[in-house]
């Protein structure tokens, strides 16, 4: 029977909730902390920051990552920046505004209390990162610079050129390495978590595979933290790293953790378009580029002239036309749908006609070129001078992105506009967690992109880094006390306990199963076909009919996988194909759940766009009467889930039709 979920939101007014919670949450004394062991799976922003902070507090921490070093988690690839309500720009920003923008950006499908807490701790994150030596962009006065991101009208984004994620992760990684050096964290690299071990209804450990030797290991923990990122790779082509996967979260789901809003996927508007069937991944061009790049298509259908030959009056700056108040900085879901709409209508550019232009020329010349010329006292500068001066500024702001674009496409974006198209980037859905970030399994937590909690149906740019670090540095280290304070008498459980033995046996059997199918098709073959179904039926636009077809197709694909996949090599060696087989098998199950969720939610909101539910001018049409809740799915059996709901109550924000016009 479906139940109403209790998110354990503290009482009191919104602005007091977190402060009061922190003052009242049970504490664990330092002597007891040493005896409490915490397992952290994943070492991206959320995992590295949590592992380091918990070790600093005195807990005994074990951290796991599948990469060869914690520094390589995919947070490293985040480009544009991190939001914080510092109001350093004196442009009217505040904790409330960051909170409000995030709720609105998420199309009113996020939990107020979590989002407000996120906005509250955002400023501390910047302080912490600077203290670690993260080299954010600075002005000549030595103070921090900011830029704008989509869905906001202030400048609150801190950045380090186009590699902010790298710098933040290296900061968290350095704190983690420090704790490893001090002996407070035991790090397991090239290890993949393959199951959660449950003892008496609580998460008490994991089964991990040493990816080099292939050996399965049992690890005990009083609590287990999953900081394992999102599941965008269910689409095969995405901006995620090749290894990003849902396996840890999926194993938790199969052990009882509810999965929240699985269909809420973020399709990022500005990515380098697909160039052929060989393509293994898609590359993002940061949203920050929309500060200075203008998006357009030709006004004439099927125009084949080179971009620079199309005169100004024959260009359709469709975002500026449709959304004058936010222009090129509308949120991602809106920008993506608008690009798709233009391309589907026949106005797309490039060989595939599935791309739009992102053009820097006018800002490079008019904004930066003229400003630099004026600084240098050059009157009436010619265009060549303006281009030269503007180019230097653009290079400093986005140089690495422009280089990357050139390497991939062979075209120079300083000269011709970038061609871009939306691509899967982030998943707002994830394991359902309460205010303490605990899943519905006791002792099992989910942090960062792996949980569902803060971004509703659409995440605003530069908020993923903020959430990952908020969860790891400032939220979980407090909230975990509520659980661990009652665990101080629990002695470490032997990994020879039957629950560990059973769990390891099940993992072993599954590996043996993959290796013994000995079919004819590669793992990638299945992954690509799954991705195609998902992109076409559960991507930027969804319909009841399409989703029903997709569910049937995915079920058939799953059967075929278990009868015809070929996994070469052995279990007791470094075997990347075997790793992929396990991940793709989980993606296939997840894909089905995403379609089930998308079918059940008969409204459009944020990144979830159901063709049947739109306004006359093509905007997402929410149904707050019927769907103002979080969908949290309980795994029952293969292809069988039960829906539970968490009602979303808006006490502080007036829920309204989202408008960026």
């Amino acid at each position: 029977m479906s139940t109403i979920l209790d998110a354990k939101i503290p009482d009191g007014s919104l602005v007091e909730k977190w402060t009061k919670f922190r003052s009242n949450v049970p504490l664990v004394n330092p002597a007891n902390k040493r005896n409490l062991e915490i397992i952290v799976v994943g070492t991206g922003l959320a995992g590295a920051s949590a592992a380091a902070s918990l070790a600093e507090l005195g807990y005994t921490v074990k951290a796991f990552c599948f990469q060869d070093s914690p520094r390589r988690a995919h947070s490293i690839a985040a480009q544009g920046g991190i939001n914080a309500a510092k109001n350093y720009q004196n442009d009217g920003d505040s904790t409330y505004r960051l909170f409000y923008d995030t709720i609105k950006g998420g199309d009113y499908r996020a939990r107020e209390a979590n989002v407000h807490r996120l906005a509250e701790v955002s400023a501390n994150i910047i302080d912490q990162c600077v203290a670690q030596g993260v080299p954010f962009a600075r002005d000549y006065g030595g103070l921090l610079k900011n830029r704008s991101f989509g869905g906001t009208q202030v400048k609150r984004t801190f950045y380090a050129a186009g590699q902010t994620g790298q710098q933040l992760l290296l900061g968290a990684y350095s704190s983690l390495q420090r704790q490893i050096g001090l002996g407070n964290v035991k790090m397991y690299t090239r290890h993949e978590m393959l199951d959660v071990v449950m003892v008496d209804g609580k998460a008490r450990g994991i089964i991990a595979r040493d990816l080099i030797s292939g050996k399965l290991e049992r690890h005990f923990g009083h609590a287990v933290l999953l900081c394992t990122g999102g599941y965008g790779n269910v689409f095969y082509l995405s901006t995620n790293a090749m290894g990003s996967n849902v396996t840890a979260a999926w194993k938790a789901h199969r052990k009882g953790a509810l999965f929240g809003n699985p269909c809420f996927t973020q399709i990022h508007p500005t990515c380098i378009p697909v160039s052929g069937d060989h393509q293994s991944k898609l590359t993002l061009m940061s949203e920050s580029l929309r500060n200075d790049g203008r998006i357009w298509v030709p006004k004439q259908k099927g125009d084949t002239r080179p971009a620079n030959d199309i005169p100004e009056e024959e260009r359709d700056y469709y975002l500026e036309r449709r959304y004058p108040a936010f222009g090129n900085l509308v949120p991602r879901d809106i920008a993506s749908r608008a690009a798709k709409e233009r391309c589907d209508a026949g106005y797309g550019v490039g060989a595939s006609k599935m791309a739009v232009y992102l053009d820097f020329r006018s800002n490079l010349i008019n904004k930066y070129g003229r400003a630099e010329a004026s600084k240098l006292g050059i009157d009436n500068p010619d265009e060549e001078t303006l281009i030269r001066l503007g180019r230097a500024v653009v290079k400093e702001e986005y140089g690495n992105l422009f280089d990357m674009y050139k390497q991939i496409t062979g075209e120079d974006p300083y000269e011709t506009p970038m061609r871009i198209y939306p691509a899967v980037h982030y998943t707002m859905g994830g394991l359902w967690v309460d205010y303490n970030l605990m899943t519905t399994v006791k002792g099992l937590y989910a942090l960062g992109e792996a949980n569902f909690s803060d971004h509703g149906a659409n995440r605003l740019g530069a908020s993923a880094l903020m959430q990952g670090l908020a969860d790891g540095y400032f939220v979980l280290p407090y909230t975990i006390g509520a659980y661990l304070a009652a665990e101080i008498k629990t002695k470490a459980i032997s990994t020879d306990a039957p629950e560990f033995v059973e769990a390891e046996k099940a993992v072993q059997e599954r590996i043996t199963q993959f290796l013994s199918i000995k079919g004819k098709k590669s793992v990638d073959n299945f992954h690509k076909r799954l991705g195609k179904i998902m992109w076409e039926q559960c991507g930027m636009s969804r319909s009841a009919e399409g989703l029903k077809g997709a569910i049937a197709d995915i079920q058939a694909l799953r059967k075929e996988f278990y009868s015809d996949v070929f996994v070469p090599g052995d279990a007791d060696e470094f075997n990347p194909e075997l790793e992929k087989a396990g991940r793709v098998a989980d993606f296939i199950e997840l894909g089905e759940l995403m379609c089930v969720d998308a079918l059940q939610r008969e409204e459009s909101c944020g990144g979830h766009f159901r063709e049947e539910f739109q306004t006359p001018d093509g905007e997402a049409l929410r149904d707050d009467e019927k769907y103002a809740y979080v969908s949290a799915w309980e795994f029952k059996d293969t292809s069988q889930w039960e829906l539970h709901k968490e009602e979303l109550v808006y006490e502080n924000i007036k829920i309204a039709q989202r408008s960026y016009k």
Binding site: Q67, S69, Q128, P135, Q177, S280
Partner: protein
């Protein structure tokens, strides 16, 4: 078949750290110029799998030049002919008919795991020995209370851009890790946050680097020339100054 490039690949195969390795030759056909070098390997591996042979193991993850996981030594250069990561090397840098030799990073401190994948955990241990500012979560003051001259901030950022791939080690005839280590020492010594531990950091990181079995630096500059992120050899000079001043003034045991 997506393109019309045909290539001969000579690839290092090695079952594990303990076994002997050897080159194996493969013909690959129908490669497109738009493919990345790793996507060309995907095509080859897909074929090997369809022939029920074992695919070539190699490290890779983000495929956008930032995670530092990919690590192929191509025709005598780490990451190949361009100053970029292997994943950002595209087949348009080669000609149809080329023979391409692909090896793993070669260094005593980077033992081979399998085929082209190596173990670089020695880099993590160098960072763990001192590549950080000791500031616990919650101890920070307001970020703007610490103005940093833009010039220093920019230099620190350029050093911090290191992706830890190990190309510098692979490029060096001595397999020295000086460029990697000095980039972190430089970043933190250029910033006010890094001052308190400045001397200890240089000494400990250099000691760890030596303990891992990396070779000495003989200033050939090969590391800088091959670094996909353009990390400057000036960082090595800066670290040498840091190290010298630390060893002259320090009499502590850490």
């Amino acid at each position: 078949m997506e393109g019309n490039m045909n290539l001969t690949l000579k690839v290092w195969r090695q079952k594990n750290a303990k076994s002997e390795g050897r080159f194996e030759t493969f013909d690959v056909k129908g490669i497109s110029e738009d493919m990345s070098f790793l996507e060309m390997f995907d095509v080859l591996n897909e074929r090997l799998i369809s022939e029920t042979k074992e695919p070539i193991a190699f490290d890779h993850d983000c495929r956008e030049g930032i995670c530092g996981m990919c690590s192929m030594y191509i025709n005598g250069h780490p990451h190949g002919p361009k100053q970029t990561t292997t994943c950002q090397l595209h087949m348009r840098s080669f000609k149809s008919g080329d023979t391409i030799t692909v090896e793993p990073w070669r260094a005593a401190a980077f033992p081979v795991i399998k085929d082209l994948a190596v173990n670089r955990s020695s880099f993590d241990r160098i960072i763990a020995s001192g590549g950080f500012v000791s500031v616990n979560t919650g101890n920070a003051r307001d970020a703007n209370s610490l103005p940093i001259p833009k010039e220093n901030a920019d230099l620190a950022f350029m050093a911090a851009a290191c992706i830890g791939c190990g190309a510098c080690v692979a490029a060096c005839k001595n397999a020295s890790a000086m460029l990697f280590t000095s980039a972190k020492v430089s970043q933190l010594s250029l910033l006010p946050q890094g001052q308190a531990e400045r001397q200890m950091r240089a000494e400990k990181m250099v000691a760890q680097m030596d303990a891992e079995g990396f070779g000495a630096c003989t200033n050939t500059g090969a590391c800088e020339a091959e670094c996909p992120k353009g990390i400057s050899i000036e960082n090595i000079a800066r670290m040498n100054r840091e190290y010298l001043s630390a060893s002259v003034s320090s009499n502590k045991e850490y």
